[in-house]
């Protein structure tokens, strides 16, 4: 097996870039919505057969075992080529959590099936009354013999109808204080009593779902970590998620479109527009510089602190402003659906705008991220 970490950075970059360029389906480059499983399963298969589907996993479980520096290169190349994100939560979330907190039997059962794409995972965290205040979740699991019996409702579960399995936070002790009485379960979505209902979003896509649990019996060996200690399991990967989510590459598509359309319309002749555009471009570039600082920290093997939240705030809010300007310069055509052609440039004005909207909500809203920085970084007093 290749030791990728022993390769020079540039050799490694060249090798994966070449593979992505040769093998990634061209029609899926820079798509503006989450890809569905039937569209991306061939790409998953190719990565799996190459041994590249799990860059973050250790080699004993079929991963590439990339160190932080190589991992950054891998992600940069995916983004550079405009590769879409498959339903990868099994690789990014569930796998690492099972490796860290799971039993040997759980590892042996779930990890190979997750790697091959036989098991596709979705996340069962949020509830109608537990959004930003996730720890107030009420979906309950009561032990009856060898089973947990689960009742309740989860919501905003992305691509649940593509998934075969769900990782779920449930309340297992109603007496304990908020974070204490929560457990982490693995659930097959074919289990009787589970109903999935897609929710149409503003863009007209059915990316997220509601999932209802009605007396769903889940074997006790589906518990990951200790009973009532699920919050610890769920929190284990948060910092890295915020780094990935704050990547400055996300807004690149909108920035390129904005520049092409503005050129086609001769808008750079207008000094007012030119200043707004340049300010936004610099906001992206300077954000990339800030991102680079955190990446260096990861490469040095240092843990990320709460400060990393600022990346998500800055990148996502800048991205939104970019998409707003794109709609604005489109004028009447900016509010028409589908792909419009202006001066030979084909642009979908509204999709980037819609796509950027939830970016300041998911993964911890901008407001929650600001609360975190105020408390843990700026040391401001609690209310």
């Amino acid at each position: 097996m290749t030791d990728y970490n022993a390769m020079g950075d540039e050799d490694f970059r060249r090798e994966i870039r070449g593979f992505f360029e040769r093998e990634y389906p061209p029609h899926l480059r820079y798509i503006l919505q989450r890809a569905r499983w039937p569209e991306v399963k061939d790409w998953w298969r190719k990565l799996y057969e190459k041994g590249w589907i799990a860059p973050n996993w250790p080699r004993e479980w079929g991963g590439m075992a990339l160190d932080a520096g190589k991992m950054v290169i891998y992600l940069e190349e995916l983004e550079r080529h405009g590769c879409t994100r498959p339903p990868d939560q099994g690789i990014t979330q569930v796998g690492p959590l099972i490796m860290r907190f799971g039993t040997q039997a759980q590892k042996d059962h779930y990890l190979p099936r997750t790697l091959s794409g036989e098991y596709i995972w979705c996340q069962g965290y949020s509830e109608p009354n537990a959004g930003s205040d996730l720890a107030s979740l009420q979906t309950s699991a009561v032990i009856e013999g060898d089973y947990f019996v689960v009742n309740g409702q989860k919501i905003w579960t992305s691509l649940a109808d593509d998934a075969t399995h769900c990782y779920l936070l449930v309340r297992t002790d109603k007496q304990a204080k908020k974070q204490r009485g929560i457990s982490f379960l693995l659930v097959g979505l074919k289990t009787p009593g589970i109903t999935i209902r897609p929710i149409r979003n503003l863009a007209g896509h059915e990316e997220f779902c509601e999932v209802f649990y009605d007396k769903v019996r889940i074997p006790r060996d589906a518990l990951v970590g200790e009973l009532n200690d699920g919050w610890t399991v769920a929190k284990a990967l948060l910092g890295y998620e915020r780094l990935g989510i704050g990547s400055p590459r996300r807004p690149q598509y909108a920035l390129r479109r904005l520049e092409s359309v503005a050129r086609a319309k001769g808008l750079f002749e207008d000094p007012g527009f030119a200043d707004r555009f340049t300010a936004l471009k610099l906001d992206i570039e300077d954000g990339a510089t800030l991102y680079g600082r955190f990446v260096e920290q990861v490469k040095r093997g240092e843990p990320l602190g709460h400060d990393v939240s600022m990346l998500k705030i800055w990148t996502m809010e800048t991205w939104q402003r970019l998409t707003e300007l794109l709609v604005e310069i489109g004028a009447e055509e900016g509010v028409m659906t589908g792909v419009r052609e202006i001066g030979g440039v084909e642009t979908d004005f509204l999709s980037p705008f819609y796509y950027a909207r939830p970016a300041t909500i998911y993964g911890g809203s901008s407001e929650i991220q600001r609360n975190v920085i105020a408390k843990y970084v700026l040391d401001l007093p609690s209310g």
Binding site: A274, T278, L282, T289, L290, D307, I373, V377
Partner: protein, 364 residues
């Protein structure tokens, strides 16, 4: 090491009583402090060792400039040790370098760069000042404005046209026909207006002429703008720190006001702006110290100055708001930081001018 000596120099709390005493004083800064800065080697950071300097780069100069600006030191470090020193170093007059650079580094001769003539015009070639050949030398006439460091400058480096070429000439303050008038700035320092009326300059005092003069001036101005960015960061550092201290301790409605989410979120935004500026400072100075070509250098300097000017103005304006009425009083220090931010932001090109230049250089 430099960082330690800067923080040792400033002490635990910045000495703002000294800053207040020097406000609107025509001397502008304290010569004894200037001499101490020279003794620490700071005036020679960008000067090669053979002329008595340390031969270091902008990254090192930025450490000193950021630290001093945090204490609002009025000493003209950027004006003399970046702008004027860079022109001399880049110039081709070997004798002038050998004689004058060691004196500049030692703090014995304070030199200021007199290049600009009109407000908001930053094209070094857009000048009316002329040097006419006269008895083997030149007769210099024209008006230079917005000259930072004028208050105690011993000599000026003046840009002027010699026929169709740009030249930079060394003009001692005491030269007959040269007069300096000081105009007060928001932060208590001053810009000088240097009026030249047939001031005589010997040929030996031409620092550089022609294309090399334009190149030297362009480099000095980019490097000056970059270090002004570092100064703006020093201003942000302290203004934000003061605001956060206030939010933690000021009690209203029975609680520290920093527990209110509206204020917490504003504080976080200021923190993000400071961190962005700081990351951009480190990256651009590193790139500038690798001596890129002039186009890239100008783009880097503009990117840095635009970010720092906007961030410093935002942070210092918000510092006033977060402090409430006390922030608007002259006796409270927050206002001193706002006023320094105002003058540094406008000096050597404001944010929108730098964004325009950046756009011109990068959009093609």
């Amino acid at each position: 090491m430099l960082a330690d000596s800067v923080s040792g120099f400033i002490g635990r709390g910045p000495d703002l009583a000294r800053v207040r005493k020097l406000r609107d004083d025509p001397r502008e800064h304290d010569p004894a402090i200037w001499k101490q800065m020279a003794d620490l080697g700071w005036l020679g950071i960008l000067v090669p060792e053979r002329y008595g300097g340390l031969g270091l780069g902008l990254a090192e100069m930025a450490i000193v400039a950021r630290g001093l600006a945090r204490a609002l030191a009025p000493e003209p470090l950027t004006a003399c040790a970046v702008l004027a020193a860079s022109v001399l170093v880049e110039g081709e007059n070997g004798e002038l370098k050998t004689v004058e650079l060691p004196k500049l580094v030692a703090g014995d001769t304070l030199v200021a760069l007199a290049w600009q003539e009109n407000a908001g015009v930053f094209d070094p070639a857009a000048i009316h000042c002329r040097a006419a050949p006269f008895e083997g030398g030149y007769k210099l006439s024209g008006t230079k404005r917005f000259v930072s460091g004028s208050a105690q400058a011993d000599a000026f480096l003046v840009s002027a046209g010699i026929e169709n070429e740009l030249a930079l000439l060394w003009v001692p303050r005491a030269t007959a026909g040269a007069t300096v008038a000081l105009e007060p700035l928001a932060d208590g320092r001053s810009f000088g207006t240097l009026t030249l009326n047939d001031a005589l300059v010997p040929k030996s005092r031409v620092v550089t002429a022609g294309a090399p003069a334009s190149a030297a001036l362009a480099l000095a101005l980019d490097h000056g703008a970059a270090i002004a960015g570092a100064e703006l960061l020093g201003v942000m550092d302290r203004a934000l720190e003061m605001s956060l201290e206030y939010l933690r301790t000021r009690v209203q409605f029975g609680k520290p006001i920093g527990s209110f989410q509206a204020l917490q979120h504003r504080a976080v935004d200021l923190h993000i702006h400071r961190e962005l500026a700081s990351a951009v400072l480190d990256e651009t100075l590193g790139a500038l110290d690798r001596r890129p070509d002039p186009g890239r250098r100008a783009a880097l300097a503009s990117r840095l100055k635009a970010r720092c000017a906007d961030a410093a103005l935002k942070i210092t304006r918000e510092a006033i708001q977060l402090h409430g009425a006390i922030g608007f009083t002259d006796e409270y220090d927050a206002g001193l930081y706002l006023k320094r931010a105002l003058t540094l932001a406008a000096w050597l090109g404001g944010a929108s001018w730098h964004r325009r230049r950046y756009a011109r250089l990068t959009l093609g």
